[in-house]
Each structure stands twice: as structure tokens, then as C-alpha cells.
């Protein structure tokens, strides 16, 4: 690691990379031109030993959305002042410990919101209009033999319940309105700048909705927010799309409801135990699965590089962070 470091590199500010995140792997050269990089995954040492040996003076960390930045890890980084996560979500970071130690946290902010919303709508269209299933049917040579295909579900006029009207939820709402959907939402609080009907009770929202789109953050309050009761309220003709975090839905219950035909279908981009997906879903034609890649378009990866390196540079030059979630 440090063997081939030139004097120029040694002058660069040091960051530890945890994950590593996809954006680091894609733009490694660019990151290396700005920062001196600690790469724990390249070491044979277990993480805690690596941190003890090499990262005691490190002030900044670049962290992937998958890396569990727990209290234990944070305790091995005594000089840490900044965490930059490539994700929009911060549920993988022990925020109360960061707050206690006055460690700033920056995330991807609204960078991915449009792309994630695009995928949410794409998944919904795919499930309701059976695009993937029909694709498989035709490619298996079954079209001439099966005759007419069963009816898909019309989007126009359907009631869509958005769970979490943050920046992603708003982008989803805007898109689905163009299809003639009618939007309502559930959120911690009513949003004053929005005209969509607000439902404080998730069960009420599910009961009046034809579609639920999960767009909220994962917190203690939202874990298993969508449970069996909510799914039953959504009903046999209801669809659910989740592009937020797997644990917001009780996955076991979701699988049961789908197997028993208690909801009409699901589009899922996130799961409780990624990359493991309940195999019971593999054979269901009314379920469309995506390998948690919503944020990843070629364009957004570059944007992600810009915002993460921008946050790190701002920190090292004592300038305000670009996208702070927690700031001391």
C-alpha cells in the first residue's frame, strides 16, 4: 500500500474507503489523484486490526451504502471527523454515535432521486402491464400457442399511495400523474406545499389505494411498516413497489400474501437480506425483481463521483459540505 507512494501522493489528504462503493471502483483513478487512499479490503488483516494499524489519524471516510458503519467500527476511528456515504440512505450509519462524537455525515442528497423514481415507475408499469412476463412468453415461443394473453391492469385512474413523500416520493408522484394516476401519501407529517391528500394512518392509505409505492427512509419507526395487515388492506387487486429499503416491508408476510394471491403483484428493488431474495418469488409472474441497482445509471455514477469527492474536498479545505445530513 504505502510502498509505492510518491511524495506527491503522500501530500494528499488521507481518506479511508469502506465497502468499497461502486463509484470508488469506477472512478478509482480520479479519487487517487485527489486523496491518499486506505484500502482495508486489500489487507489480510481483519478490519478492526487494520484500522488500529493504519487509520488512527484518518479524518475522513468514504463509505458505501452497504457498509455497516457501526459504533464498533467508529470506535476504531478515533480521529474521524467526516463520513461521506455514496448512498442517499443513512440507515447503515450509527448516526447517534456520529452526533455524540461530532462527526459530520454527508450523503448523496437528491442526486439519485430522479433515477430511483424512474425505476419505481418502470417496475410498476412492468408489473401492471406484465412486460417481463410477456417478454418471457414470447421468447419461449409460446405466443402462437397460447392465443390471447390475459388482461393487464390499466394505470389511468388508479389510486397511488406514496409512502414517504421525500424527494424520491415527489418525483414518483409527478411521473405517475402524467399517466392519469391519482396521488395520496403517508408521511411523518403533512407537507404544506403539496395538494395530494395526506393520510396519517398507513392502513387508511392502503385501504383506499390500488398501488403502494414505498419511498421512505428506513428508521426504527418504518421497519416492517408494511406488515400483513397493511398488505391485506391493499387487497387482492393491489400492487406494491419498493425502491427504498427491504426491511420497510415484512418480507415473509409479503411472500405469503403473493403466494396466496392476497395482493395482485409486486415490483421489488430492495430486500431484507440482499443479495438473497426469497426463492418463492422466482416463479411468480406477477413479481418483478431488480438487483438493487436503481441508483446506478452511467450518468448518476459520474454525478456520484462529483458529489462525494466534492464533499471530501470541501471538508479538507474547510469549506461547507455540499450535502450534509449531520453537520457539527
Amino acid at each position: 500500500m504505502a510502498e509505492d507512494e510518491t511524495p506527491e501522493v503522500q501530500q494528499l489528504p488521507e481518506i479511508i474507503v469502506l465497502g468499497p462503493p461502486v463509484v470508488f471502483e469506477t472512478y478509482e483513478k480520479e479519487f487517487c489523484s485527489k486523496f491518499r487512499i486506505l484500502r482495508p479490503w486489500e489487507s489480510t488483516l481483519p478490519l478492526s486490526e487494520f484500522l488500529l494499524a493504519h487509520a488512527q489519524n484518518t479524518n475522513a471516510a468514504l463509505c458505501s451504502g452497504y457498509f455497516l458503519l457501526s459504533t464498533a467500527v467508529l470506535r476504531h476511528l478515533p480521529s474521524l471527523r467526516l463520513v461521506v456515504t455514496t448512498s442517499a440512505g443513512v440507515d447503515h450509519i450509527d448516526l447517534s454515535e456520529c452526533r455524540r462524537r461530532q462527526i459530520s455525515v454527508a450523503n448523496a442528497s437528491t442526486l439519485f432521486s430522479a433515477d430511483v423514481a424512474d425505476l419505481a415507475v418502470g417496475l410498476l408499469l412492468n408489473v401492471m402491464r406484465q412486460i417481463s412476463a410477456a417478454n418471457r412468453l414470447v421468447k419461449n415461443g409460446l405466443w402462437p400457442k397460447t392465443g390471447d394473453y390475459p388482461f393487464g391492469s390499466k394505470l389511468g385512474g388508479k389510486k397511488v399511495g406514496i409512502v414517504g413523500l421525500g424527494s424520491i416520493g415527489l418525483e414518483v408522484a409527478k411521473r405517475l400523474e402524467a399517466f392519469g394516476c391519482i396521488i395520496s401519501y403517508h408521511s411523518r407529517e403533512k407537507k404544506s406545499f403539496v395538494l395530494y391528500p395526506f393520510y396519517r394512518d398507513i392502513l387508511e392509505l392502503a385501504a383506499i389505494s390500488d398501488v403502494l409505492v414505498i419511498c421512505c427512509a428506513l428508521t426504527k419507526q418504518t421497519r416492517h411498516l408494511i406488515d400483513r395487515e397493511v398488505l391485506l388492506a391493499l387487497g387482492k387487486k393491489g400492487f406494491i413497489v419498493n425502491i427504498a429499503r427491504g426491511p420497510i416491508i415484512d418480507e415473509n408476510e409479503l411472500v405469503l400474501c403473493l403466494q396466496q394471491g392476497l395482493i395482485a403483484g409486486a415490483g421489488l428493488e430492495v430486500f431484507e437480506n440482499e443479495p438473497h431474495v426469497p426463492e418463492a418469488l422466482f416463479s411468480l409472474n406477477n413479481v418483478v425483481l431488480s438487483p438493487h441497482s436503481a441508483a446506478f445509471t452511467m450518468e448518476s455514477l459520474w454525478d456520484s463521483y462529483e458529489i462525494t469527492s466534492g464533499n471530501l474536498e470541501a471538508f479538507f479545505s474547510n469549506k461547507p459540505l455540499l450535502s450534509p445530513v449531520l453537520d457539527k
Binding site: A114, L125, I131, A134, Y149, P150, G156, A178, F282, T297
Partner: protein, 332 residues
């Protein structure tokens, strides 16, 4: 519910007589409603050849329902001498000899825009599928590859992409409206520039292809649009370009499309329609960047209801000498 009558002719003669040309699962499903209002002749269920059936049974028939797959040729029209009205179940009329209808003074009504939203929804669904690799990702996960390969499928952002709509009719307008909400930039090619439309107009299909990232085919099939999308247009669309067709298969030169996809001259395609349905070029079956569907863009529960209203409404009006609900087409 219609009950069999003792008197063989009176009640039935009061019902207007319609000949149903072609096959329609819709009419089969809605058999009861139609039979209670009209007397329907079904040549497809007869063992006699069509023209023989018409000569024997349909010499006085004034109205026809024509399904999309049925080739309503001049020859057939000659065997239906009393025909005054054709109600098509489709929006497309490329299967009907319209000039012969005009000559004979037969009014033709199509399905208008009852399907437009549903068709546009499928077109946009295919665009997003191709751009964000949804069907490919679904297969990736369902074949158990995610834990093994850990690959992420890098898609392409929709916002800012140039979409070229070929044919800005009622479907094209619905596609444009939807894709605008994703931040796409809309241009179009049409026979004539549309007034009151802010999208950029191109009178030349090659120019549209050259500025577009995605082409969405929404026009009618006519002599002018047959093979409109040929090899040259596809090459102009380019290696990063996508094409979606929910209109009619023959608007694209299918052999050339297959060649361009196999040679990676374009990036992908979404196709609901084909030149020789239900035959689909098998070379497309193994391509992950191609999404295929069995000409089902209109098949939602909502469209079925609208079609029923369209057919029954117009036919009832015709037989009661009231104005028809839908405009009569004098030019496709």
C-alpha cells in the same frame, strides 16, 4: 337475457343484423350483451368458405364489426352488397380497403382514442425497461445470479434524453406527455407539422433519427409508412439508440431491424407488433436488450369496457338512425 322465441322471425328481425368479420375473444366474452341487442352473423364459425357464407346469409346485412386481423378486401366487400357501416375494433385501419369503402359509400369508424392511454403506457413501460434493464434484471435475479455474480446492471438515465415520436396522433401525444414527466426532450415526425404543439417538428425521418436517443413508433400503417424505418434510419439512430414499436410491425423493415440488433448497430428494441404476427424472428429470443410482447398493448380491463361502449353505442345509433358516436373517417 335473450330467451329463445317461439315465433321464429319477429323478435329477431327487430334486432339489427351485423356480420362479425374476423376473430375476437372480446366478442366471445361479451357474447350475451351483443346477442341481446343485435343479430350477429359469425362466418368464422361456419364450415362454409367466407364468400359462400356471405352470399347465403349476408346479402342484406348493413353493418359489420371488423377485427384487427381480418383482411377486409375489395373482394369481400363485393360479397356484402348492403353494407353501409363498418365498425373496426382497432384504431388502425390498414387491414381495410378504405378506397373501396369510399367508392361504395360505406362509412368506416375506428376505435378512435379509446386505447391511446393504455398503448402509450406500454410504450413508455418498454422505454424504461430498455433504458434501465428491468426485464434483464428480473431474469438475473430469478435465475439466482445476484449472490453469485454480484454484478450491477448499469442502466441509462432517462432525464435529458431526446425522444423522437414517429406520428404525433393521439397515441403519440400521450407518449410525449408521459416521457416529458421523466425529463425527456420530445421531437416528432409527422405528415404535417401540428399547430399548438411545442415539440420540435422534423419533416424528415432521418433528421429525427439523427437527433434522437429513442424512437417511439406511433403512426398508422399506410403505403407511405410501410418500411419507413429502414436500415438507413436505424444506422442514423445509432449504436446507443433505442426503438420502441407499438403501432404496426410493417412500419419497420423487420429483417433489417434484426440485422441491426445482431450487429449491435442499435442498442435495443421494444416490440409489441411484428410483420407476420404471431411469428416473431427467433434471432431476437436470446437478446437481453430486446423486449417483446404479443401485440397486447390494448388489453387492459379498462379498454375492454371502452370497446364495448364504442361498438354497442355506434351500432345502436346506426340501427336507430341516430348520429353515430364516433367520427366517420373519410381519409385514414
Amino acid at each position: 337475457m335473450a330467451t329463445p322465441t317461439q315465433k321464429p322471425s319477429s323478435p329477431r328481425q327487430q334486432l339489427g343484423q351485423i356480420v362479425h368479420l374476423g376473430l375476437s375473444s372480446f366478442l366471445n366474452t361479451h357474447h350475451k350483451e351483443f346477442s341481446s341487442k343485435f343479430q350477429i352473423l359469425r362466418p368464422s364459425e361456419s364450415k362454409f368458405p367466407l364468400n359462400q357464407f356471405f352470399t347465403a346469409e349476408a346479402q342484406n346485412t348493413q353493418a359489420a364489426i371488423c377485427s384487427g386481423g381480418f383482411k377486409l378486401s375489395a373482394d369481400i366487400l363485393r360479397h356484402l352488397p348492403s353494407l353501409r357501416l363498418i365498425v373496426a375494433t382497432t384504431s388502425g385501419l390498414n387491414n381495410i380497403d378504405l378506397s373501396e369503402c369510399r367508392k361504395r359509400g360505406i362509412s368506416v369508424i375506428n376505435a378512435g382514442n379509446i386505447y391511446s392511454a393504455d398503448v402509450a403506457d406500454l410504450a413508455v413501460g418498454m422505454v424504461i425497461d430498455l433504458m434501465r434493464k428491468i426485464s434483464a434484471g428480473n431474469r438475473f435475479v430469478k435465475t439466482g445470479l445476484w449472490p453469485k455474480q454480484g454484478d450491477y446492471l448499469l442502466g441509462s438515465k432517462l432525464g435529458g434524453k431526446q425522444v423522437g415520436i414517429v406520428g404525433l396522433g393521439s397515441i403519440g401525444v400521450e407518449v410525449a406527455k408521459r416521457l416529458e414527466a421523466f425529463g425527456c426532450k420530445i421531437s416528432y415526425y409527422s405528415r404535417k407539422k401540428k399547430p399548438c404543439v411545442s415539440y420540435t417538428f422534423y419533416s424528415n425521418i432521418h433528421e429525427l433519427a439523427s437527433v434522437s436517443d429513442i424512437l417511439v413508433i406511433c403512426c398508422a400503417l399506410t403505403e407511405q409508412t410501410r418500411h419507413l424505418i429502414n436500415r438507413e434510419v436505424l444506422l442514423t439512430l445509432g449504436k446507443e439508440g433505442l426503438i420502441v414499436n407499438i403501432a404496426r410491425g410493417a412500419i419497420i423493415d423487420e429483417k433489417e431491424l434484426v440485422r441491426c440488433l445482431l450487429q449491435r448497430e442499435i442498442a435495443g428494441a421494444g416490440l409489441d407488433v411484428f410483420e407476420h404476427e404471431p411469428r416473431v424472428p427467433q434471432e431476437l429470443f436470446g437478446l437481453d436488450n430486446v423486449v417483446l410482447s404479443p401485440h397486447f398493448a390494448v388489453y387492459t380491463e379498462g379498454a375492454s369496457r371502452h370497446l364495448e361502449e364504442h361498438l354497442i353505442g355506434n351500432l345502436e345509433a346506426f340501427f336507430s338512425n341516430r348520429p353515430l358516436l364516433s367520427p366517420v373517417l373519410d381519409d385514414e
